[in-house]
């Protein structure tokens, strides 16, 4: 069609969708793995009596099972969502996360690890292919200067219009995911492997210790989920089908009058 531009090369489109799948599986299998010991410690070894965060089942006032989330010295009741929630067999049980959020749905650390490590390799393979195109996400000086005004424009996100090229905020967001969040997730994930640590003892040390690496890993996951939600919302708000088509066929229709 007249006026369309070829926006995404094949390698970018293919890796985009594989990475999307990989991140979904890594998140859901990661939650499965975390259920085996749903607690975080800001140290190298676990300080079991002083978790930074923990999710657990508890007895309520009437002796009924309740779920709790403890962050620092704050405890909130999270029954049916965290700590005491759906077990994948139609009932509820002592589980950190609900069955619908984990792979496999029922509690299974061994298979959760198999999924997680398989898709970790998929992610790394995609990173190797995508690496060359990722360089285009590095913001230029001009874009960094325009960043504050782009942020201001996004204060009303539903009025943001699609443009032929990425706007500075959009580009910075993608850059952050590709060059900051995913690398943190990968590096902190590697630091959890005792054999990896024997090859690179500086790796857990860099992150504040092995248990602290779990915090980085968890935080990176949350940040990536945050990006995902925003990304999907912005894709929907700026022309769902046009954006989707661009990431499937490569062809994007620039809005009228857009630069």
């Amino acid at each position: 069609m007249k006026g369309r531009i070829y926006r995404h090369p094949l390698a970018v489109r293919v890796t985009h969708w594989i990475v999307a799948l990989a991140l979904l599986v890594l998140t859901m299998s990661g939650l499965q793995i975390f259920m085996a010991h749903p607690a975080l410690y800001a140290s190298d070894a676990s300080t079991f009596d002083k978790p930074v965060l923990s999710i657990y089942a508890d007895a309520g006032a009437a002796g009924q099972p309740v779920g709790r989330l403890q962050v620092g010295s704050h405890v909130v009741t999270t029954t049916h969502v965290l700590g005491w929630t759906s077990d994948g067999f139609g009932g509820e049980n002592s589980r950190a996360f609900p069955a619908w959020a984990t792979i496999p749905a029922y509690r299974d650390l061994a298979d959760g690890r198999r999924w997680h490590i398989f898709f970790a390799w998929v992610l790394i393979a995609c990173a190797l292919v995508y690496g060359y195109w990722a360089l285009r996400l590095i913001p230029k000086g001009r874009e960094l200067r325009e960043l504050p005004s782009a942020v201001l424009r996004h204060m009303l996100p539903w009025r943001v219009k699609a443009e032929s090229s990425y706007n500075p905020l959009q580009k910075t967001a993608y850059f952050t995911v590709v060059f900051v969040l995913v690398p943190i997730a990968v590096i902190s994930g590697l630091a959890l492997g005792p054999s990896v640590d024997s090859w690179a003892p500086w790796l857990p040390a860099l992150l504040g210790g092995r248990q602290f690496a779990r915090i980085w890993h968890f935080a990176a996951m949350f940040a990536i989920i945050g990006f995902f939600v925003t990304h999907v919302a912005m894709v929907a708000a700026t022309g769902l089908w046009n954006n989707l088509r661009a990431m499937i066929t490569g062809w994007f229709s620039p809005p009228k009058g857009a630069s």
């Binding site: 410690y41 070894a45 676990s46 619908w100 496999p104 690890r113 198999r114 005792p194 090859w199």
Partner: protein
């Protein structure tokens, strides 16, 4: 509040509810697909395939796990796994400060033999190491081990040319009569930090941590570090007679537990 604003509030609430419902339904779909794929034997073999890659990348060489200062030792070395053995022989040995207990070395060796605790202390150069124990569940504890290096004990027995693996037959069972066991290949077994420990934190190993003798392999996850070792068997291959090389390996966990 005007009716119009109220209704738009309700609309927003409904939209938010629908979005939540849609996303959790979508996730539940993923969890369901993931669960049924997990149960597909052919797909599971694909999921298992990275283990060979992990071993190829991390298994060569013998880098040392980090060793810590005394002050890093965890106040309590957490216990996980089965209860200590409770059979008459074990209890009798325990009451007699482990007199009568012997560690056997059998299989493809020129000189099979057995060692009392005193033999292990006096006939092999002791090695002390303060290392981190990383449980597959996610937690870590640091402890000080003293014991004989596995490679010295195996060398004493003079393994035959066809020896490839070392199996550790243990005295603890899962409550249904199935006993714990583990295995290492000869390369892993010759790692300087693979230690047959008889002391934890300068005391005889407590029953919960694997008395009287346990293996410690700080370059892999905790389940490789078999407790209550009774017999070491040198074999040519893991084969059908030995399952997948360990109690947890037979239940889906990786034989190479380096990550």
């Amino acid at each position: 509040m005007t009716p119009r604003r109220a209704s738009s509030g309700v609309t927003l609430q409904r939209a938010r509810f629908l979005a939540l419902l849609a996303s959790s339904t979508a996730l539940a779909g993923c969890a369901r697909i993931g669960t049924s794929l997990t149960e597909n034997a052919r797909f599971h073999r694909i999921l298992d395939s990275p283990e060979r890659l992990d071993l190829a990348v991390l298994g060569s060489g013998q880098p040392l796990a980090r060793e810590y200062a005394e002050r890093a030792i965890s106040p309590d070395f957490r216990h996980n796994g089965f209860d200590p053995p409770a059979d008459a022989a074990y209890l009798q040995w325990m009451r007699n400060a482990w007199r009568g207990y012997r560690l056997f070395v059998t299989g493809l060796v020129a000189r099979p033999g057995s060692y009392s605790l005193d033999d292990l202390r006096t006939r092999f150069k002791p090695r002390a190491q303060i290392t981190r124990h990383d449980c597959v569940e996610g937690w870590s504890v640091i402890g000080k081990w003293r014991g004989a290096q596995l490679r010295d004990v195996i060398a004493q027995a003079q393994p035959l040319a066809q020896a490839r693996y070392v199996i550790f037959w243990c005295m603890d069972d899962d409550g249904t009569g199935t006993k714990y066991y583990e295995s290492l290949d000869m390369h892993q077994a010759s790692h300087p930090q693979a230690v047959l420990a008889y002391e934890l934190n300068d005391q005889p190993i407590p029953p919960k941590n694997g008395a009287p003798v346990r293996l410690t392999v700080p370059t892999q996850l905790g389940y490789k570090s078999a407790k209550h070792v009774q017999r070491i068997e040198v074999v040519a291959g893991l084969g059908a007679a030995y399952g997948r090389g360990g109690y947890w390996e037979d239940r889906g966990y990786e034989w190479f537990a380096g990550i």
